[in-house]
């Protein structure tokens, strides 16, 4: 009988097995919930540089940097006609990355950096925050700022672009203060663990902050508040040479994700080809008598050696027959080039810039010219072209592609041409050359430039087009109602599905919402 009771006792004890600890197995063993502050940085820096390239596939159709030869409807017949893809997230990568890839992680990083007095990291953090609002508002106009990154909300109100610009300004001012600090736990080695752009050098980031502020202030060119002197002052405190360029290196260690977005392996623009517009800017058509030495390093000839571009009004290669179709951007016919060296920005390992010295010099030139300071404008403009020629050479060495470098003589001859560097500089020179310098990477700023000058504005001095030779497609996307594109609709799967009320309040549900001009481009 004792045995039976013992059996019952054992069974009963097994029942009363404690459950509190036993159930404590819900901490995800596959990933941490928090990490040191600097470890949040690498993916955010990656996206800051790379995300604009994703959207650049589509923005590049608006700005006629390139056209797709794909037979599919999109992007050619939608983006290529200044429209959009309904129900698609195309053109909303930066929306994803600002709200999600940066999103809560950036807040966590900044909170930690602040608590640990890591002013250098916090400065970079605020700069990232400013960058996010800047690219988003420039692409989309009204965006969600005040209510952003709040998991308790399910509906979000949009803020005006004016508010977004104020917020960007505030964040950059703070970043500039913080990045000058050397007290607290400012530590280059610590920052370097997450920063593979400048290896933790806060002084370089300080220059980026000034550069971003210069760019932001320069967007006010249509407004009464425009202050070109402030723009020039910030440019001068920013990059001093190409050595300061903010460039992201792609390690090519992890298939795809850390390959250059424009590399052949990523296969993102294999079917894209240059437009006749960019060809004409560089082949001596728009700058007569001065064929650009960069054309053979940046653009692709057809197999017959002639540089041709696509006509946006024709589908695919249009009238170009097989033998005279331009090669792909990697320098090969058709879909060739897999595993082979690319050229310029179109190589698996080519570094992609966030911002360049050359770009800033053109901003300075524009501001100076608008102030009436020809000498400053001319110097900055010449710097801009010269440094971009160096930039092209550098990119063609990023993966030891070893194409013929542009020689000093070629460069000097080019800059000596009055067609390129005239006695009297005009906005048309500055903006068209800035276009070349930003072609294929600086899509956000490039499109902002075009919108600030309403795509086809004419230079008040010379009477030539600001963007020489640019013509909008004759047939625009159906919903445009004949208007040129001014903004991209907010991300479909974020907003059109889940935040309709918020969109409705800003008129975002209209089929032609993308043609509504931005506040910043209005007087």
């Amino acid at each position: 009988m004792k045995t039976r009771y013992a059996a019952i006792l054992v069974a009963s004890l097994s029942l009363s097995y404690g459950c509190s600890d036993y159930l404590d197995v819900n901490t995800n063993p596959n990933a941490p919930q928090t990490v040191t502050a600097n470890l949040y940085l690498p993916p955010m820096l990656h996206w800051m540089v790379t995300s604009p390239q994703y959207d650049g596939r589509f923005v590049g159709h608006y700005t006629q940097e390139w056209y797709s030869t794909s037979t599919a409807v999109s992007p050619e017949l939608t983006w290529g006609r200044m429209g959009y893809d309904p129900g698609s997230d195309n053109g909303a990568m930066q929306w994803r990355d600002v709200y999600w890839s940066l999103g809560q992680g950036l807040i966590d990083m900044n909170t930690k950096a602040q608590a640990e007095q890591r002013w250098d990291l916090l400065g970079v953090g605020l700069l990232l925050k400013a960058w996010g609002w800047q690219v988003l508002t420039d692409l989309h106009g009204e965006i969600i700022v005040k209510e952003a990154i709040d998991q308790s909300r399910t509906a979000f109100d949009y803020d005006t672009q004016e508010y977004a610009y104020q917020e960007i300004s505030r964040l950059l001012d703070s970043a500039i203060v913080l990045l000058q600090k050397t007290d607290g736990a400012v530590n280059q080695a610590y920052l370097a663990k997450g920063d593979h752009i400048y290896n933790g050098d806060r002084t370089k980031w300080l220059k980026v902050a000034y550069g971003m502020r210069a760019m932001m202030l320069n967007h006010y060119s249509n407004k009464a508040a425009y202050d070109p002197a402030a723009v020039i002052a910030d440019v001068d405190r920013s990059f001093a040479s190409n050595a300061d360029d903010a460039l992201l290196t792609y390690p090519n260690a992890n298939p795809f994700d850390d390959y250059n977005f424009w590399g052949r392996s990523r296969n993102n623009i294999t079917l894209y080809r240059q437009t006749q517009f960019i060809v004409n800017l560089m082949n001596g058509t728009q700058f007569p008598g001065a064929p650009d030495p960069r054309i053979s390093r940046m653009l692709s000839p057809a197999p017959d050696g002639v540089y041709r571009g696509l006509d946006p009004n024709l589908t695919g290669f249009g009238a170009l027959a097989t033998g005279v179709q331009p090669n792909n951007f990697f320098g090969y016919a058709g879909t060739g080039g897999l595993g082979l060296p690319g050229r310029y920005l179109f190589d698996d390992k080519a570094k992609i810039p966030l911002m360049t010295y050359s770009q800033l010099q053109f901003i300075k030139a524009e501001a100076a010219l608008r102030m009436g300071d020809q000498a400053t404008a001319l110097a900055a403009y010449t710097n801009g072209i010269s440094s971009h020629i160096d930039f092209v050479n550098a990119r063609n060495l990023d993966n030891n592609q070893s194409p013929p470098q542009i020689t000093a003589t070629e460069k000097a001859n080019f800059l000596a041409s009055p067609s390129i560097v005239p006695a009297t500089l005009t906005l048309s020179h500055i903006m068209s050359q800035k276009y070349i310098a930003q072609w294929a990477w600086g899509h956000n700023e490039l499109w902002m430039d075009m919108r600030r000058y309403h795509y086809t504005d004419v230079d008040p001095v010379s009477g030539t087009e600001i963007f020489r030779g640019f013509t909008a497609p004759t047939t625009l996307y159906g919903a445009n109602g004949g208007q040129l594109v001014q903004r991209i609709r907010p991300r479909y799967n974020s907003e059109y599905v889940w935040n309709v009320a918020g969109l409705n309040a800003i008129g975002g549900l209209a089929a032609d919402y993308h043609t509504k001009p931005l506040w910043i481009t209005l007087p």
Partner: protein, 1032 residues
């Protein structure tokens, strides 16, 4: 916490048990038990002395011996599945023995049948207040389906089985009473011998390639077996479906979608050696008709084809066409061999069963096969008068080769390939893939012959399930039963994307190896209280119990890409490798009790309660209790006057059952990012620290009626269940939250339905009998609300073709399809673009009333027996329910279907122009003439809704079998029989695609999944089997 209190209570209850009656003299009882109808001896009948635990099982000759029976006046009772129990008073002398024989009456499905219920208990049908239905193991085995889940369609009212495709080893999903969960699994809990069995289908989310959107399969292009198919159908003794929470409440949170309770075979005295086999050939016949008039679209500027579109000039007269489809399929085959030994000691105290089985299926699609080996052993022993043991072990090895499906699969490739080109000629002289277009290897659809020859999907599984059970009977009024089980498997997967193939070219080949290791441990303890007489007419019985589960599954995935040698398949041959490990753990504790009041054997009231504690819900909310109550009233016994005409029972039940979240659902975690220079960033999932369990509350009412001495029976059930606070996984929100996906409470769904089972024996003569059973099922699921009033919820994997997905919204069916359908005016007319005459499509996902849920289904089984010959067949009917024929849409947009032949006929699309007057009283009727051949946007812009076929009906002959029982002793055998059988021989349907039973995803996908989305799926082949079974 509460659990502690419950445990203390349990312990006290247990320890407070009264001492046993004082010892007294004992005697021996012997007897023989036979079938009342045939007089044949009955083996395996349990005979017990009431009020004690002493008893025995009958041997093969029907005899039993009970030793140590306490002397005095006793009651002996018998129990055997399928037979009515009997109770007989007997006097056991102080010394010597007594003899008591029984003749037991077989009960088809009458109220007195002993049936398996929740927790592996047995009960009389009359006492059940809930709906359940049983299928005998032999019926399942005789369907000759390697995956027993496929045998259930049509055999049980309310059960719906969807096989993903006709490829061997394809996953099958099973749902009971429709879809109630929008995003989580709707599949029932599988219970084998009292403990849960894992029935997971591997989700592609564990693959390393799924981290990259350009490489992810997202449960579309590949399929893996659902793990319940590891079970050998020959090992199943009975399978009982507990249909709703009312019946399954005691199983707790995993049984919110019902439970399938399987009892495996145990040894029987005289079982001896049993051998059976089956040989099978399979054919597939269905293929869509393609137009052979218009040739491929040819570019004016490029040499060669630029796509596989067929909007070009007509084929030249005399063009040679190749029947690429016909030569592709082969005759499939299968063979199965089953061998078992079983027996028992003469006193019936120990029995054993050893079985082995091998199954090899070669599919009709080349390169597909499935083979399985099962080894099982089980033994029961009566160790002492108070201890019984039961042990079973099952080992399974299976090896499955599948092919890709959907747009990367060979079927689409087969249909798309130019008919004037011989697809069999798929290699160039250099031995590389022969390309026809200028698209490049990464974009051109794979030649189907190349695809199956060079790509590969292989899965191998080694699985062991062990279950040890102990039953202590130290007391006269109850027993304590403990089961401990381990379900352990290693599932090794290999997925090869050939460097030349469409799916592999961009990566210069990719090989993925993924090992899934699952180890589930379950412990369940029950304290049963035997029936206790409260008064002359009222008795009570019950149980308390506890269950502890520890589920752990880990996946180690390794992906290699960039092949050095394009043909050598090894990860060592790859240049770039990435890995991913996924570990998932979940633990549960449950405590439960049941009490049943029995009034005069005609009124039963049963109350149940269970409390669960789960690891996947935040502390504080992770303990939840739910009650259940049901009642059974045998009105034909309460009013014996009725009994002359019929037997009848009414039942009603209510139960609530909670359900937890998946592991790690409420706290966001960081992800190691593979973007430049690594680092950490948040995963897609946002936090939800307020996550709480969802609750399903369900009512059911039913009746079981028997007429004409039970020759005709009807079992009817209606139910209505509501799930509140439903956890919706992966629901999206504005990215402004900082995240992409959330797991939120807040959906509610309602399911209602009617289940009818009509059975009858119209003819019952010595030489000839005819039995039939008809199962009717009508189920409805409706979404009442979504979290935070979000407009739509869908499972992203189901957005697999065009712009249609399994989206649902409040007011819609749980099986609706949303899409970017045509825009329409208020009167429902299609809006036409005034600039080109082509219809305008919505830019957001909208509802147009599509519902994949059938109006009803009927399974009709007939069995005819004439002497030694028997014929049975199962017809499966379905009425209503929509199926999206994406394959047809795909082929139409490529100009291949017959419906595109009139492309040169000018036409005006019926509709009204969107000119601002579309919603006025006088909209402008479209009068823009288009010629589809010129404006191919007519085809390419066609809304998928034109290809969602409404109200798809079918009649299919699932199984038909003719078997012949050989004379006893034929060639020294016993119970020998031979059979011929056909499966899926016949399908009549108004569906215009290949087969309306399809799943565009796999059984791994939650919610309503990809059921009813037909895209590039191979249909079930027709099969013909023959074989025999015999004993020695």
């Amino acid at each position: 916490m509460a659990l502690g209190r419950v445990m203390r209570f349990l312990a006290l209850t247990l320890l407070a048990c009264p001492a046993l009656a004082a010892g007294q003299g004992t005697g021996i009882i012997r007897g023989r038990i036979s079938d009342a109808a045939t007089g044949a001896p009955l083996a395996g009948v349990s005979v017990r002395v009431d009020g004690t635990t002493i008893g025995a099982l009958t041997n093969s000759d029907g005899t039993y011996t009970i030793t140590g029976a306490p002397a005095g006046s006793r009651v002996l009772s018998t129990r055997r599945l399928g037979y009515a129990p009997q109770r007989v008073a007997i006097t056991v002398p102080e010394t010597g023995g007594a003899t008591q024989d029984f003749a037991l009456g077989r009960v088809a499905t009458s109220l007195d049948e002993v049936v398996v219920t929740a927790l592996g208990q047995t009960a009389q049908q009359r006492s059940l207040g809930t709906a359940q239905q049983t299928v005998q193991g032999i019926t399942i085995a005789e369907t000759q389906r390697e995956n027993f889940v496929n045998a259930l369609q049509g055999r049980i009212a309310g059960v719906d089985v969807t096989s993903t495709s006709g490829i061997p080893g394809a996953s099958s999903s099973i749902t009971i009473r429709g879809i109630s969960s929008i995003s989580s699994s709707n599949q029932p809990l599988m219970i084998i011998d009292g403990l849960p069995m894992d029935n997971r289908t591997m989700n592609t989310g564990v693959l390393a390639s799924d981290n990259n959107s350009t490489q992810a399969f997202s449960n579309r292009g590949v399929d893996f077996t659902n793990r319940a198919s590891d079970l050998n159908p020959e090992d199943i003794e009975t399978l009982t479906v507990l249909k709703g929470p009312e019946a399954a409440a005691l199983y707790g949170i995993d049984a919110a979608s019902g439970a399938i309770v399987i009892t495996t075979k145990r040894g029987k005295a005289g079982g001896g050696l049993q051998y059976s086999n089956s040989f099978r050939i399979e054919k597939t016949g269905a293929k869509p008709e393609l137009q052979k008039v218009y040739g491929p679209t040819v570019s004016t500027t490029a040499a060669g084809l630029t796509s596989f579109s067929y909007f070009g000039v007509p084929y030249a007269p005399g063009t040679v066409f190749y029947d690429n489809v016909d030569g592709f399929f082969r005759t499939g085959s299968a063979q199965t061999h089953n061998l078992s030994f079983s027996g028992a000691t003469t006193d019936g105290r120990i029995n054993y069963r050893l079985a082995s089985s091998s199954d090899k299926t070669v599919g009709v699609v080349p390169s597909t096969d499935y083979s399985r080996i099962n080894l099982t052993g089980a033994s029961q022993a009566q160790v002492t008068s108070w201890l019984n043991t039961d042990v079973s072990m099952a080992y399974t090895y299976d090896n499955n080769d599948q092919v890709y499906k959907g747009d990367i699969g060979p079927l689409i490739g087969l249909l798309l390939w130019p008919q004037n080109d011989n697809a069999k000629n798929y290699l160039t002289a250099a031995g590389t893939r022969r390309l026809l277009t200028t698209l490049g290897a990464g974009t051109e659809q794979d030649n189907p012959y190349f695809n199956i020859a060079k790509n590969k999907i292989n899965a191998k599984t080694n699985r062991i399930m062990a279950n040890v059970g102990l039953t202590f009977t130290p007391i006269s009024w109850g027993n304590l039963k403990t089961n401990i089980g381990v379900d352990n498997y290693t599932n090794t997967n290999l997925i090869l994307r050939n460097p030349d193939s469409q799916v592999g070219n961009a990566f210069n080949g990719m090989l993925e190896l993924a090992d899934v290791l699952t180890r589930n441990i379950n412990v369940q303890t029950l304290l049963n209280f035997n029936s206790h007489q409260l008064s002359k007419s009222l008795s009570i019985s019950g149980l308390v119990g506890n269950a502890i589960s520890d589920y752990r599954t880990g996946a180690d995935a390794l992906k290699g890409q960039d092949f050095l040698d394009p043909n050598f398949v090894s990860i060592n041959n790859t240049n770039q490798r990435t890995s991913k490990t996924t570990l998932e753990q979940r633990r549960l504790i449950g405590a439960f009790a049941q009490a049943q009041l029995d009034f005069k054997d005609y009124l039963y009231i049963t109350g149940t309660g269970r409390n669960d504690w789960t690891s996947t819900i935040p502390k504080g909310a992770n303990s939840f209790f739910y009650p259940g109550i049901n009642s059974s009233f045998i009105f034909s016994d309460a009013f014996p006057g009725i009994r002359r005409f019929m037997t009848g029972k009414l039942r009603a039940g209510y139960a609530a059952v909670g359900k937890d979240a998946r592991p790690y659902a409420y706290r966001p975690s960081l992800q190691y990012k593979t973007t430049s220079n690594g680092g950490y960033g948040y995963d897609f999932y946002g936090p939800n620290l307020a996550l709480k369990p969802e609750f399903k509350k369900s009512f059911e009412y039913g009746t079981e009626l028997g007429f004409l001495n039970d020759r005709l029976g009807l079992d009817a059930t209606i139910y209505r269940s509501t799930t509140r606070d439903q956890i919706v996984n992966d629901i999206r929100g504005s990215y402004a939250t900082g995240f992409v996906l959330f797991n939120l409470n807040g959906a509610s769904t309602r399911n209602t339905g009617l289940e009818l089972t009509l059975r009858g024996t119209p003819v019952l003569r010595n030489a000839f009998s005819w039995d039939f059973q008809m199962n009717f099922d009508r189920a409805r699921g409706k979404v009442l609300s979504l979290p935070h009033a979000l407009p739509e919820s869908y499972v992203s994997d189901t957005w697999l073709y065009g712009n249609v997905r399994n989206g649902t919204a409040p007011g819609l069916s749980t099986m609706s399809l949303t899409g970017m359908y045509y825009l329409r005016n208020n009167a429902g007319a299609i809006l036409i673009d005034p600039s080109n005459g082509i219809p305008l499509r919505s830019s957001i996902f909208i509802d147009r009333g599509y519902d994949r849920q059938p109006n009803y289904t009927i399974g009709l089984t007939n069995t005819f027996k004439h002497n030694r010959l028997s014929l049975d067949f199962l017809l499966d009917f379905r009425r209503g329910g929509d199926v999206f024929d994406a394959t047809d849409h795909y082929l139409t947009t490529h100009g291949l279907t017959m419906s595109t032949l009139n492309r040169n006929d000018p036409l005006v699309i019926p509709g009204v122009l969107k000119d601002g007057k579309e919603n006025s009283a006088t909209p402008t009727v479209n009068n823009i003439v288009i010629v589809p051949a010129v404006q191919t946007a007519y085809y390419t812009n066609m809304s998928e809704e034109l290809f969602i076929q409404k109200n798809v009906n079918w009649v299919r002959l699932r199984d038909i079998q003719l078997s012949y029982a050989l004379p006893e002793g034929f060639l020294g055998t016993k119970n020998a029989s031979a059979f011929v059988k056909g499966t899926d021989l016949f399908l009549r349907t108004n569906y215009r695609g290949l087969d309306p039973i399809v799943n565009g995803n796999s059984a791994a996908v939650g919610g309503s999944g990809g059921t009813g989305i037909d895209f590039g799926n191979f249909p079930m082949p027709r099969g013909f089997n023959f074989g025999f079974r015999m004993g020695l």
